[in-house]
Amino acid sequence: MTTIARIILSRIGQALATAAMLATLCFAFVHALPGDLSLRVAAARVGDERVTSETAERIRREEGLDRPLIVQYGQWMGNLARGDLGRSLLSGKPVTAELAYHTKFTLQLGLIGWLLSYVLALPLGIWAGMRPGGAVDRATEALAVTLASLPAFLVGIGLITLFALTLRWLPPAGFRTFAHMVLPAFTLALSLVAFSIPVIRNAVVEARSAFFMTYARVKGLSPVSALRHHGLRNAAIPVVTFAALQFAFVIDGFVVIETLFNYPGLGELLVKALVARDVPVIMGAGLVIGFAFALVSLLADLARLWLDPRELAEARA
Protein backbone atom coordinates (compact mmCIF):
# COMPACT_ATOMS: atom_id res chain seq x y z
CA MET A 1 0.00 0.00 0.00
CA THR A 2 2.91 2.33 0.56
CA THR A 3 3.45 2.53 -3.19
CA ILE A 4 -0.07 3.76 -3.75
CA ALA A 5 0.28 6.27 -0.92
CA ARG A 6 3.50 7.55 -2.47
CA ILE A 7 1.86 7.94 -5.89
CA ILE A 8 -1.10 9.82 -4.39
CA LEU A 9 1.26 12.09 -2.44
CA SER A 10 3.36 12.89 -5.49
CA ARG A 11 0.26 13.78 -7.51
CA ILE A 12 -1.01 16.00 -4.68
CA GLY A 13 2.40 17.64 -4.71
CA GLN A 14 2.08 18.19 -8.45
CA ALA A 15 -1.37 19.75 -8.00
CA LEU A 16 -0.12 22.08 -5.25
CA ALA A 17 2.95 23.11 -7.25
CA THR A 18 0.74 23.87 -10.26
CA ALA A 19 -1.62 25.89 -8.06
CA ALA A 20 1.21 27.87 -6.45
CA MET A 21 2.78 28.61 -9.84
CA LEU A 22 -0.53 29.71 -11.32
CA ALA A 23 -1.35 31.94 -8.35
CA THR A 24 2.09 33.55 -8.38
CA LEU A 25 1.91 34.07 -12.14
CA CYS A 26 -1.52 35.72 -11.87
CA PHE A 27 -0.35 37.92 -9.00
CA ALA A 28 2.77 38.96 -10.93
CA PHE A 29 0.73 39.74 -14.05
CA VAL A 30 -1.82 41.80 -12.15
CA HIS A 31 0.82 43.96 -10.52
CA ALA A 32 3.20 44.15 -13.47
CA LEU A 33 0.56 45.57 -15.80
CA PRO A 34 0.95 49.27 -16.45
CA GLY A 35 -1.63 51.63 -14.99
CA ASP A 36 -3.50 51.85 -11.70
CA LEU A 37 -5.07 48.54 -10.70
CA SER A 38 -7.84 50.18 -8.66
CA LEU A 39 -8.85 52.28 -11.67
CA ARG A 40 -9.11 49.14 -13.79
CA VAL A 41 -11.19 47.33 -11.16
CA ALA A 42 -13.42 50.38 -10.87
CA ALA A 43 -13.80 50.55 -14.65
CA ALA A 44 -14.78 46.89 -14.75
CA ARG A 45 -17.40 47.38 -12.01
CA VAL A 46 -19.14 50.63 -12.87
CA GLY A 47 -18.25 51.07 -16.54
CA ASP A 48 -15.50 53.03 -18.21
CA GLU A 49 -17.19 56.40 -18.44
CA ARG A 50 -18.45 56.59 -14.84
CA VAL A 51 -15.16 56.03 -13.03
CA THR A 52 -14.19 58.84 -10.67
CA SER A 53 -11.13 59.14 -8.50
CA GLU A 54 -13.40 58.65 -5.44
CA THR A 55 -14.60 55.21 -6.59
CA ALA A 56 -11.03 54.24 -7.40
CA GLU A 57 -9.93 55.41 -3.94
CA ARG A 58 -12.75 53.47 -2.27
CA ILE A 59 -11.84 50.30 -4.16
CA ARG A 60 -8.17 50.78 -3.33
CA ARG A 61 -9.06 50.77 0.39
CA GLU A 62 -11.67 47.99 0.19
CA GLU A 63 -9.44 45.61 -1.75
CA GLY A 64 -6.33 46.51 0.22
CA LEU A 65 -4.46 47.63 -2.89
CA ASP A 66 -2.61 50.38 -0.95
CA ARG A 67 -0.59 47.93 1.13
CA PRO A 68 2.96 46.79 0.31
CA LEU A 69 3.27 44.15 -2.42
CA ILE A 70 4.71 41.46 -0.16
CA VAL A 71 1.76 41.81 2.25
CA GLN A 72 -0.67 41.60 -0.66
CA TYR A 73 1.12 38.50 -1.98
CA GLY A 74 0.92 36.85 1.44
CA GLN A 75 -2.76 37.67 1.67
CA TRP A 76 -3.34 36.44 -1.91
CA MET A 77 -1.75 33.07 -1.17
CA GLY A 78 -3.41 32.90 2.26
CA ASN A 79 -6.88 33.42 0.81
CA LEU A 80 -6.14 30.79 -1.79
CA ALA A 81 -5.00 28.27 0.84
CA ARG A 82 -8.31 28.78 2.66
CA GLY A 83 -10.19 28.15 -0.57
CA ASP A 84 -11.37 31.75 -0.78
CA LEU A 85 -11.11 32.78 -4.42
CA GLY A 86 -12.84 36.14 -3.97
CA ARG A 87 -15.47 37.65 -6.20
CA SER A 88 -15.60 38.13 -9.94
CA LEU A 89 -14.61 41.68 -10.84
CA LEU A 90 -17.29 41.67 -13.55
CA SER A 91 -20.38 40.09 -12.04
CA GLY A 92 -19.55 40.55 -8.35
CA LYS A 93 -20.62 36.94 -7.67
CA PRO A 94 -18.32 34.63 -5.67
CA VAL A 95 -15.84 32.94 -8.01
CA THR A 96 -16.56 29.51 -6.49
CA ALA A 97 -20.25 29.81 -7.45
CA GLU A 98 -19.36 30.81 -11.02
CA LEU A 99 -16.90 27.92 -11.27
CA ALA A 100 -19.40 25.37 -9.96
CA TYR A 101 -22.02 26.51 -12.48
CA HIS A 102 -19.69 26.38 -15.49
CA THR A 103 -17.76 23.25 -14.48
CA LYS A 104 -21.00 21.28 -14.56
CA PHE A 105 -21.44 22.05 -18.27
CA THR A 106 -17.83 21.25 -19.10
CA LEU A 107 -18.02 17.91 -17.27
CA GLN A 108 -21.13 16.96 -19.24
CA LEU A 109 -19.56 17.87 -22.56
CA GLY A 110 -16.19 16.35 -21.67
CA LEU A 111 -17.67 13.06 -20.49
CA ILE A 112 -19.97 12.63 -23.51
CA GLY A 113 -17.20 13.62 -25.93
CA TRP A 114 -14.66 11.34 -24.25
CA LEU A 115 -17.00 8.32 -24.22
CA LEU A 116 -17.99 8.99 -27.82
CA SER A 117 -14.32 9.14 -28.83
CA TYR A 118 -13.67 5.68 -27.39
CA VAL A 119 -16.86 4.30 -28.96
CA LEU A 120 -15.29 5.37 -32.27
CA ALA A 121 -11.62 4.69 -31.54
CA LEU A 122 -11.69 1.30 -29.77
CA PRO A 123 -13.23 -0.77 -32.60
CA LEU A 124 -11.15 1.06 -35.24
CA GLY A 125 -7.91 0.80 -33.26
CA ILE A 126 -8.37 -2.88 -32.40
CA TRP A 127 -9.42 -3.72 -35.96
CA ALA A 128 -6.37 -1.91 -37.36
CA GLY A 129 -4.05 -3.59 -34.84
CA MET A 130 -5.29 -7.07 -35.73
CA ARG A 131 -3.71 -6.82 -39.18
CA PRO A 132 -0.78 -4.39 -39.08
CA GLY A 133 -0.03 -3.09 -42.57
CA GLY A 134 -3.39 -4.21 -43.91
CA ALA A 135 -5.97 -2.08 -45.69
CA VAL A 136 -7.88 -1.21 -42.50
CA ASP A 137 -4.64 -0.28 -40.76
CA ARG A 138 -3.61 2.09 -43.55
CA ALA A 139 -7.09 3.62 -43.79
CA THR A 140 -7.33 4.33 -40.05
CA GLU A 141 -3.78 5.69 -40.05
CA ALA A 142 -4.70 8.14 -42.81
CA LEU A 143 -7.84 9.08 -40.88
CA ALA A 144 -5.86 9.65 -37.68
CA VAL A 145 -3.20 11.79 -39.40
CA THR A 146 -5.88 13.87 -41.12
CA LEU A 147 -7.79 14.46 -37.89
CA ALA A 148 -4.58 15.24 -36.01
CA SER A 149 -3.82 17.99 -38.56
CA LEU A 150 -7.19 19.67 -38.00
CA PRO A 151 -7.49 22.11 -35.10
CA ALA A 152 -10.70 21.54 -33.10
CA PHE A 153 -12.31 24.74 -34.34
CA LEU A 154 -11.93 23.63 -37.98
CA VAL A 155 -13.64 20.31 -37.21
CA GLY A 156 -16.39 22.27 -35.46
CA ILE A 157 -16.82 24.73 -38.32
CA GLY A 158 -17.01 21.83 -40.76
CA LEU A 159 -19.66 20.06 -38.68
CA ILE A 160 -21.68 23.29 -38.28
CA THR A 161 -21.56 23.94 -42.02
CA LEU A 162 -22.66 20.41 -42.84
CA PHE A 163 -25.22 19.54 -40.16
CA ALA A 164 -26.54 22.93 -39.05
CA LEU A 165 -26.37 25.19 -42.10
CA THR A 166 -26.70 22.76 -45.03
CA LEU A 167 -28.75 19.80 -43.77
CA ARG A 168 -30.41 21.80 -40.93
CA TRP A 169 -30.60 18.74 -38.69
CA LEU A 170 -29.07 20.28 -35.59
CA PRO A 171 -28.83 23.73 -33.98
CA PRO A 172 -25.47 25.47 -34.67
CA ALA A 173 -24.84 26.82 -31.15
CA GLY A 174 -26.27 27.31 -27.66
CA PHE A 175 -27.06 24.86 -24.83
CA ARG A 176 -30.78 24.61 -24.12
CA THR A 177 -31.53 21.05 -25.27
CA PHE A 178 -29.69 17.79 -25.76
CA ALA A 179 -29.56 18.41 -29.50
CA HIS A 180 -27.25 21.34 -28.73
CA MET A 181 -24.73 18.92 -27.24
CA VAL A 182 -24.41 16.70 -30.29
CA LEU A 183 -22.14 18.85 -32.46
CA PRO A 184 -19.77 20.02 -29.68
CA ALA A 185 -19.50 16.46 -28.34
CA PHE A 186 -18.71 15.09 -31.80
CA THR A 187 -16.15 17.85 -32.39
CA LEU A 188 -14.41 16.96 -29.12
CA ALA A 189 -14.63 13.23 -29.88
CA LEU A 190 -13.11 13.61 -33.35
CA SER A 191 -10.15 15.61 -32.05
CA LEU A 192 -9.54 12.94 -29.38
CA VAL A 193 -9.89 10.03 -31.82
CA ALA A 194 -6.95 11.37 -33.82
CA PHE A 195 -4.60 10.52 -30.98
CA SER A 196 -6.26 7.50 -29.39
CA ILE A 197 -6.54 5.37 -32.58
CA PRO A 198 -2.73 5.04 -33.07
CA VAL A 199 -2.19 4.38 -29.35
CA ILE A 200 -4.82 1.64 -29.25
CA ARG A 201 -3.55 0.16 -32.51
CA ASN A 202 0.08 0.06 -31.34
CA ALA A 203 -0.94 -1.45 -28.00
CA VAL A 204 -2.86 -4.20 -29.77
CA VAL A 205 0.03 -4.87 -32.20
CA GLU A 206 2.46 -5.09 -29.30
CA ALA A 207 0.24 -7.37 -27.21
CA ARG A 208 -0.44 -9.63 -30.22
CA SER A 209 3.23 -10.26 -30.86
CA ALA A 210 4.02 -10.90 -27.18
CA PHE A 211 5.20 -14.32 -26.05
CA PHE A 212 2.19 -15.05 -23.86
CA MET A 213 -0.03 -14.69 -26.95
CA THR A 214 1.96 -17.31 -28.82
CA TYR A 215 1.69 -19.52 -25.76
CA ALA A 216 -2.09 -19.02 -25.58
CA ARG A 217 -2.36 -20.05 -29.24
CA VAL A 218 -0.10 -23.07 -28.70
CA LYS A 219 -2.29 -24.00 -25.73
CA GLY A 220 -5.11 -24.27 -28.24
CA LEU A 221 -7.10 -21.05 -27.76
CA SER A 222 -8.69 -19.55 -30.83
CA PRO A 223 -7.23 -16.19 -31.98
CA VAL A 224 -10.34 -14.35 -30.77
CA SER A 225 -10.43 -15.90 -27.32
CA ALA A 226 -6.64 -15.50 -26.91
CA LEU A 227 -7.07 -11.82 -27.64
CA ARG A 228 -10.04 -11.49 -25.31
CA HIS A 229 -8.51 -13.28 -22.35
CA HIS A 230 -4.85 -12.32 -22.63
CA GLY A 231 -4.36 -9.63 -25.24
CA LEU A 232 -6.80 -6.87 -24.40
CA ARG A 233 -5.89 -6.46 -20.74
CA ASN A 234 -2.23 -6.10 -21.66
CA ALA A 235 -3.08 -3.77 -24.49
CA ALA A 236 -5.14 -1.65 -22.08
CA ILE A 237 -2.06 -0.64 -20.04
CA PRO A 238 -0.56 1.94 -22.46
CA VAL A 239 -4.05 3.06 -23.48
CA VAL A 240 -4.99 3.91 -19.90
CA THR A 241 -1.73 5.78 -19.34
CA PHE A 242 -2.49 7.71 -22.47
CA ALA A 243 -5.90 8.79 -21.19
CA ALA A 244 -4.21 11.18 -18.76
CA LEU A 245 -1.96 12.62 -21.43
CA GLN A 246 -4.99 13.05 -23.61
CA PHE A 247 -6.59 15.25 -21.00
CA ALA A 248 -4.10 17.93 -22.03
CA PHE A 249 -5.57 17.83 -25.53
CA VAL A 250 -9.07 17.96 -24.05
CA ILE A 251 -8.19 21.21 -22.31
CA ASP A 252 -7.29 23.22 -25.38
CA GLY A 253 -10.03 21.31 -27.18
CA PHE A 254 -12.82 22.37 -24.92
CA VAL A 255 -11.69 25.97 -24.53
CA VAL A 256 -11.93 26.36 -28.30
CA ILE A 257 -15.02 24.18 -28.77
CA GLU A 258 -17.02 25.92 -26.04
CA THR A 259 -16.19 29.31 -27.48
CA LEU A 260 -17.12 28.20 -30.99
CA PHE A 261 -20.47 26.69 -29.95
CA ASN A 262 -21.21 29.40 -27.39
CA TYR A 263 -21.47 26.69 -24.74
CA PRO A 264 -21.34 27.99 -21.14
CA GLY A 265 -18.53 25.77 -19.84
CA LEU A 266 -15.31 26.47 -17.98
CA GLY A 267 -13.35 27.20 -21.16
CA GLU A 268 -15.80 29.81 -22.32
CA LEU A 269 -15.74 31.37 -18.83
CA LEU A 270 -11.94 31.46 -18.94
CA VAL A 271 -11.80 33.11 -22.37
CA LYS A 272 -14.37 35.75 -21.37
CA ALA A 273 -12.49 36.42 -18.13
CA LEU A 274 -9.19 36.71 -20.02
CA VAL A 275 -10.66 39.20 -22.48
CA ALA A 276 -12.06 41.25 -19.57
CA ARG A 277 -8.96 40.66 -17.37
CA ASP A 278 -11.19 39.38 -14.59
CA VAL A 279 -8.29 38.06 -12.50
CA PRO A 280 -10.10 36.12 -9.73
CA VAL A 281 -12.10 34.19 -12.33
CA ILE A 282 -9.02 33.56 -14.50
CA MET A 283 -7.16 32.16 -11.53
CA GLY A 284 -10.12 30.10 -10.35
CA ALA A 285 -10.68 28.55 -13.77
CA GLY A 286 -6.94 27.90 -14.12
CA LEU A 287 -6.85 26.19 -10.72
CA VAL A 288 -9.81 23.95 -11.55
CA ILE A 289 -8.10 22.92 -14.80
CA GLY A 290 -4.76 22.34 -13.06
CA PHE A 291 -6.33 20.24 -10.29
CA ALA A 292 -8.37 18.26 -12.81
CA PHE A 293 -5.16 17.58 -14.74
CA ALA A 294 -3.42 16.24 -11.61
CA LEU A 295 -6.50 14.19 -10.65
CA VAL A 296 -6.72 12.50 -14.04
CA SER A 297 -2.97 11.73 -13.94
CA LEU A 298 -3.48 10.15 -10.51
CA LEU A 299 -6.41 8.05 -11.75
CA ALA A 300 -4.30 6.87 -14.70
CA ASP A 301 -1.45 5.90 -12.35
CA LEU A 302 -3.78 3.90 -10.13
CA ALA A 303 -5.55 2.24 -13.07
CA ARG A 304 -2.18 1.20 -14.51
CA LEU A 305 -1.17 -0.41 -11.22
CA TRP A 306 -4.51 -2.21 -11.08
CA LEU A 307 -4.18 -3.51 -14.65
CA ASP A 308 -0.52 -4.43 -14.36
CA PRO A 309 0.39 -6.10 -11.04
CA ARG A 310 3.99 -6.45 -12.31
CA GLU A 311 4.48 -2.74 -11.85
CA LEU A 312 3.15 -2.80 -8.31
CA ALA A 313 5.62 -5.56 -7.48
CA GLU A 314 8.41 -3.64 -9.18
CA ALA A 315 7.57 -0.43 -7.35
CA ARG A 316 7.53 -2.30 -4.03
CA ALA A 317 10.86 -3.98 -4.60
Binding site: A17, M21, F29, V30, P151, L154, T161, V256, L274, G290
Partner: protein, 276 residues
Protein backbone atom coordinates in the same frame (compact mmCIF):
# COMPACT_ATOMS: atom_id res chain seq x y z
CA UNK B 1 15.10 -2.07 -39.69
CA UNK B 2 18.41 -3.26 -38.31
CA UNK B 3 20.07 -2.06 -41.48
CA UNK B 4 18.69 1.42 -41.00
CA UNK B 5 19.72 1.43 -37.36
CA UNK B 6 23.29 0.55 -38.25
CA UNK B 7 23.54 2.90 -41.18
CA UNK B 8 24.57 6.45 -40.46
CA UNK B 9 21.80 8.99 -41.11
CA UNK B 10 21.51 8.97 -44.86
CA UNK B 11 21.82 12.42 -46.30
CA UNK B 12 20.80 11.32 -49.75
CA UNK B 13 17.31 10.42 -48.55
CA UNK B 14 16.64 13.64 -46.68
CA UNK B 15 15.09 15.63 -49.58
CA UNK B 16 11.91 13.52 -49.45
CA UNK B 17 10.88 15.30 -46.28
CA UNK B 18 12.61 18.57 -47.15
CA UNK B 19 10.53 19.47 -50.22
CA UNK B 20 7.21 20.10 -48.49
CA UNK B 21 9.05 22.10 -45.82
CA UNK B 22 10.82 24.21 -48.44
CA UNK B 23 7.51 24.78 -50.23
CA UNK B 24 5.89 25.96 -47.00
CA UNK B 25 8.82 28.26 -46.21
CA UNK B 26 8.72 29.73 -49.72
CA UNK B 27 4.98 30.23 -49.41
CA UNK B 28 5.37 31.98 -46.05
CA UNK B 29 8.12 34.25 -47.37
CA UNK B 30 6.51 35.18 -50.68
CA UNK B 31 2.83 35.25 -49.65
CA UNK B 32 2.54 39.01 -49.02
CA UNK B 33 4.21 39.81 -52.37
CA UNK B 34 1.82 37.58 -54.33
CA UNK B 35 -1.27 39.30 -52.92
CA UNK B 36 -3.17 40.92 -55.82
CA UNK B 37 -4.72 43.66 -53.64
CA UNK B 38 -3.90 45.54 -50.47
CA UNK B 39 -5.07 43.08 -47.76
CA UNK B 40 -6.46 45.94 -45.65
CA UNK B 41 -8.24 47.86 -48.43
CA UNK B 42 -11.97 47.86 -47.68
CA UNK B 43 -14.71 48.25 -50.25
CA UNK B 44 -18.05 48.51 -48.48
CA UNK B 45 -19.97 48.29 -51.76
CA UNK B 46 -18.63 44.79 -52.35
CA UNK B 47 -19.08 42.89 -49.08
CA UNK B 48 -19.34 39.08 -48.94
CA UNK B 49 -19.10 38.76 -52.72
CA UNK B 50 -18.89 35.27 -54.17
CA UNK B 51 -15.65 34.30 -55.93
CA UNK B 52 -15.16 36.01 -59.31
CA UNK B 53 -12.28 36.77 -61.67
CA UNK B 54 -11.62 40.01 -59.77
CA UNK B 55 -11.67 38.35 -56.37
CA UNK B 56 -10.71 34.70 -56.79
CA UNK B 57 -11.77 33.78 -53.25
CA UNK B 58 -14.45 36.43 -52.89
CA UNK B 59 -14.55 39.33 -50.43
CA UNK B 60 -15.11 39.42 -46.67
CA UNK B 61 -17.64 41.33 -44.51
CA UNK B 62 -15.99 44.70 -45.13
CA UNK B 63 -15.17 44.03 -48.78
CA UNK B 64 -11.51 43.05 -48.43
CA UNK B 65 -10.06 40.57 -50.93
CA UNK B 66 -9.87 37.21 -49.13
CA UNK B 67 -7.08 35.82 -51.34
CA UNK B 68 -4.87 38.82 -50.51
CA UNK B 69 -5.63 38.45 -46.83
CA UNK B 70 -4.76 34.76 -46.54
CA UNK B 71 -1.58 35.32 -48.57
CA UNK B 72 -0.59 38.25 -46.37
CA UNK B 73 -1.30 36.15 -43.29
CA UNK B 74 1.12 33.37 -44.29
CA UNK B 75 4.23 34.88 -42.66
CA UNK B 76 2.37 35.40 -39.39
CA UNK B 77 0.76 31.99 -39.20
CA UNK B 78 3.68 29.93 -40.53
CA UNK B 79 6.67 32.11 -39.69
CA UNK B 80 5.67 32.74 -36.10
CA UNK B 81 5.10 29.03 -35.53
CA UNK B 82 8.57 28.21 -36.88
CA UNK B 83 10.17 31.00 -34.83
CA UNK B 84 8.38 29.85 -31.72
CA UNK B 85 9.53 26.23 -32.09
CA UNK B 86 13.08 27.31 -32.99
CA UNK B 87 13.30 29.40 -29.80
CA UNK B 88 11.72 26.69 -27.64
CA UNK B 89 13.96 23.99 -29.12
CA UNK B 90 17.15 26.02 -28.63
CA UNK B 91 16.27 26.77 -25.00
CA UNK B 92 15.33 23.12 -24.50
CA UNK B 93 18.53 21.81 -26.09
CA UNK B 94 20.70 24.22 -24.11
CA UNK B 95 19.07 23.27 -20.80
CA UNK B 96 19.00 19.57 -21.72
CA UNK B 97 22.72 19.57 -22.52
CA UNK B 98 23.52 21.44 -19.30
CA UNK B 99 21.47 18.90 -17.37
CA UNK B 100 23.18 15.92 -19.00
CA UNK B 101 26.64 17.39 -18.54
CA UNK B 102 26.16 19.14 -15.21
CA UNK B 103 26.33 17.88 -11.67
CA UNK B 104 23.58 16.09 -9.84
CA UNK B 105 22.08 19.30 -8.51
CA UNK B 106 21.95 21.07 -11.90
CA UNK B 107 20.37 18.05 -13.50
CA UNK B 108 17.74 17.66 -10.79
CA UNK B 109 16.89 21.37 -10.86
CA UNK B 110 16.45 21.55 -14.64
CA UNK B 111 14.58 18.28 -15.03
CA UNK B 112 12.22 18.92 -12.11
CA UNK B 113 11.44 22.33 -13.61
CA UNK B 114 10.70 20.63 -16.95
CA UNK B 115 8.41 18.12 -15.20
CA UNK B 116 6.59 20.94 -13.45
CA UNK B 117 6.04 22.80 -16.71
CA UNK B 118 4.86 19.61 -18.43
CA UNK B 119 2.28 19.12 -15.69
CA UNK B 120 0.89 22.53 -16.55
CA UNK B 121 -1.54 22.42 -19.48
CA UNK B 122 0.29 24.07 -22.37
CA UNK B 123 -2.28 26.23 -24.09
CA UNK B 124 -3.43 27.54 -20.71
CA UNK B 125 -0.02 29.10 -20.15
CA UNK B 126 -0.02 30.72 -23.59
CA UNK B 127 -3.57 31.93 -22.99
CA UNK B 128 -2.59 33.51 -19.66
CA UNK B 129 0.33 35.38 -21.20
CA UNK B 130 -1.60 36.45 -24.28
CA UNK B 131 -4.68 37.37 -22.25
CA UNK B 132 -2.90 39.42 -19.60
CA UNK B 133 -0.30 41.12 -21.73
CA UNK B 134 -2.73 41.92 -24.52
CA UNK B 135 -2.84 40.55 -28.04
CA UNK B 136 0.48 40.80 -29.78
CA UNK B 137 3.35 38.75 -31.05
CA UNK B 138 5.58 38.72 -27.98
CA UNK B 139 3.19 37.63 -25.22
CA UNK B 140 2.01 34.78 -27.41
CA UNK B 141 5.55 33.74 -28.34
CA UNK B 142 6.73 33.83 -24.73
CA UNK B 143 3.73 31.84 -23.55
CA UNK B 144 4.03 29.15 -26.22
CA UNK B 145 7.80 28.97 -25.79
CA UNK B 146 7.45 28.43 -22.04
CA UNK B 147 4.97 25.66 -22.70
CA UNK B 148 7.08 23.96 -25.39
CA UNK B 149 10.69 23.92 -24.12
CA UNK B 150 10.35 21.03 -21.60
CA UNK B 151 9.76 18.32 -24.23
CA UNK B 152 12.92 19.38 -26.08
CA UNK B 153 14.88 19.58 -22.84
CA UNK B 154 13.80 16.07 -21.86
CA UNK B 155 14.68 14.62 -25.24
CA UNK B 156 18.02 16.44 -25.40
CA UNK B 157 18.89 15.29 -21.89
CA UNK B 158 18.01 11.67 -22.67
CA UNK B 159 20.00 11.59 -25.93
CA UNK B 160 22.98 13.51 -24.51
CA UNK B 161 23.22 11.26 -21.46
CA UNK B 162 23.39 8.26 -23.77
CA UNK B 163 25.99 9.78 -26.08
CA UNK B 164 28.19 10.97 -23.19
CA UNK B 165 28.58 7.33 -22.10
CA UNK B 166 29.72 6.17 -25.54
CA UNK B 167 33.22 5.12 -26.44
CA UNK B 168 34.10 7.88 -28.87
CA UNK B 169 33.24 10.53 -26.29
CA UNK B 170 35.39 8.74 -23.74
CA UNK B 171 38.20 8.66 -26.30
CA UNK B 172 37.84 12.37 -27.03
CA UNK B 173 37.91 13.12 -23.31
CA UNK B 174 41.04 11.01 -22.82
CA UNK B 175 42.64 12.75 -25.78
CA UNK B 176 42.27 15.95 -23.77
CA UNK B 177 39.61 17.81 -25.71
CA UNK B 178 37.85 20.38 -23.57
CA UNK B 179 34.29 19.70 -22.46
CA UNK B 180 32.93 22.46 -24.72
CA UNK B 181 34.39 20.83 -27.84
CA UNK B 182 33.07 17.42 -26.87
CA UNK B 183 29.57 18.84 -26.36
CA UNK B 184 29.60 20.78 -29.64
CA UNK B 185 31.28 18.20 -31.88
CA UNK B 186 30.01 14.91 -30.52
CA UNK B 187 26.89 15.44 -28.47
CA UNK B 188 25.09 18.32 -30.17
CA UNK B 189 24.82 16.67 -33.63
CA UNK B 190 23.22 13.54 -32.17
CA UNK B 191 20.85 15.66 -30.10
CA UNK B 192 19.83 17.79 -33.09
CA UNK B 193 19.21 14.70 -35.19
CA UNK B 194 16.85 13.38 -32.54
CA UNK B 195 15.16 16.77 -32.09
CA UNK B 196 14.54 17.49 -35.78
CA UNK B 197 11.48 15.24 -36.29
CA UNK B 198 9.98 16.42 -33.01
CA UNK B 199 10.54 20.05 -33.98
CA UNK B 200 9.04 19.58 -37.47
CA UNK B 201 5.99 18.02 -35.92
CA UNK B 202 6.05 20.78 -33.28
CA UNK B 203 5.82 23.55 -35.90
CA UNK B 204 2.53 21.99 -37.05
CA UNK B 205 1.29 21.95 -33.46
CA UNK B 206 2.39 25.57 -33.01
CA UNK B 207 0.46 26.60 -36.13
CA UNK B 208 -2.62 25.04 -34.55
CA UNK B 209 -2.00 26.77 -31.20
CA UNK B 210 -1.37 30.18 -32.80
CA UNK B 211 -4.48 29.94 -34.96
CA UNK B 212 -6.50 28.70 -31.96
CA UNK B 213 -5.37 31.74 -29.95
CA UNK B 214 -6.23 33.99 -32.90
CA UNK B 215 -9.61 32.31 -33.18
CA UNK B 216 -10.30 32.86 -29.47
CA UNK B 217 -9.46 36.55 -29.86
CA UNK B 218 -6.45 36.16 -27.55
CA UNK B 219 -3.69 35.97 -30.17
CA UNK B 220 -2.94 38.38 -32.96
CA UNK B 221 -5.86 40.77 -33.25
CA UNK B 222 -7.77 41.80 -36.39
CA UNK B 223 -7.07 43.53 -38.74
CA UNK B 224 -3.89 41.40 -38.71
CA UNK B 225 -4.61 38.81 -41.42
CA UNK B 226 -3.38 35.89 -39.28
CA UNK B 227 -5.45 32.85 -40.33
CA UNK B 228 -7.03 32.11 -36.94
CA UNK B 229 -8.01 35.76 -36.49
CA UNK B 230 -9.44 35.79 -40.03
CA UNK B 231 -11.58 32.73 -39.21
CA UNK B 232 -12.78 34.48 -36.05
CA UNK B 233 -13.80 37.55 -38.11
CA UNK B 234 -15.59 35.49 -40.77
CA UNK B 235 -17.43 33.17 -38.36
CA UNK B 236 -20.65 35.26 -38.09
CA UNK B 237 -20.91 35.20 -41.90
CA UNK B 238 -20.40 31.44 -42.25
CA UNK B 239 -23.75 30.82 -43.99
CA UNK B 240 -23.11 33.51 -46.62
CA UNK B 241 -19.43 32.99 -47.32
CA UNK B 242 -18.46 29.36 -47.43
CA UNK B 243 -15.53 29.83 -49.83
CA UNK B 244 -14.17 32.76 -47.85
CA UNK B 245 -14.17 30.65 -44.68
CA UNK B 246 -12.80 27.55 -46.40
CA UNK B 247 -9.66 29.40 -47.61
CA UNK B 248 -7.89 30.01 -44.26
CA UNK B 249 -9.23 26.69 -42.89
CA UNK B 250 -7.73 24.70 -45.77
CA UNK B 251 -4.42 26.55 -45.54
CA UNK B 252 -4.09 25.69 -41.84
CA UNK B 253 -5.02 22.07 -42.51
CA UNK B 254 -2.64 21.61 -45.44
CA UNK B 255 0.29 23.28 -43.63
CA UNK B 256 -0.15 21.18 -40.49
CA UNK B 257 -0.64 18.02 -42.54
CA UNK B 258 2.56 18.64 -44.54
CA UNK B 259 4.55 19.28 -41.36
CA UNK B 260 3.11 16.20 -39.64
CA UNK B 261 3.96 13.98 -42.60
CA UNK B 262 7.45 15.50 -42.89
CA UNK B 263 7.99 14.96 -39.16
CA UNK B 264 6.96 11.31 -39.47
CA UNK B 265 9.21 10.79 -42.49
CA UNK B 266 12.16 12.35 -40.65
CA UNK B 267 11.51 10.21 -37.59
CA UNK B 268 11.45 7.05 -39.69
CA UNK B 269 14.71 8.07 -41.34
CA UNK B 270 16.72 9.15 -38.33
CA UNK B 271 15.77 6.30 -36.04
CA UNK B 272 14.69 3.64 -38.47
CA UNK B 273 11.63 3.17 -36.29
CA UNK B 274 8.07 3.83 -37.26
CA UNK B 275 6.94 6.94 -35.47
CA UNK B 276 3.30 6.68 -34.52
Amino acid sequence: MTMLLEARPTRSRLPGAIWPLAALAAFAASGPFLAPYDPDAQDLLRVMEAPSWHHLLGTDHVGRDVLSRVLAGAPQSLGLAALCVALAASIGVMLGLSAANGGRFTRAAIMRLADLMLAFPGLLLAMLFAGFLGGGIWPMLIGLKLALWPQYARMAEAVATGVLREGHVEAARLAGFPERVILLRHVLPAVLRAILPLATFGVGQAIMSISALGFLGLGLKPPTPEWGATINELLPFLSEGFVQMAAPCLLIFVSVLLLTLAGRALATQTTGLNHD
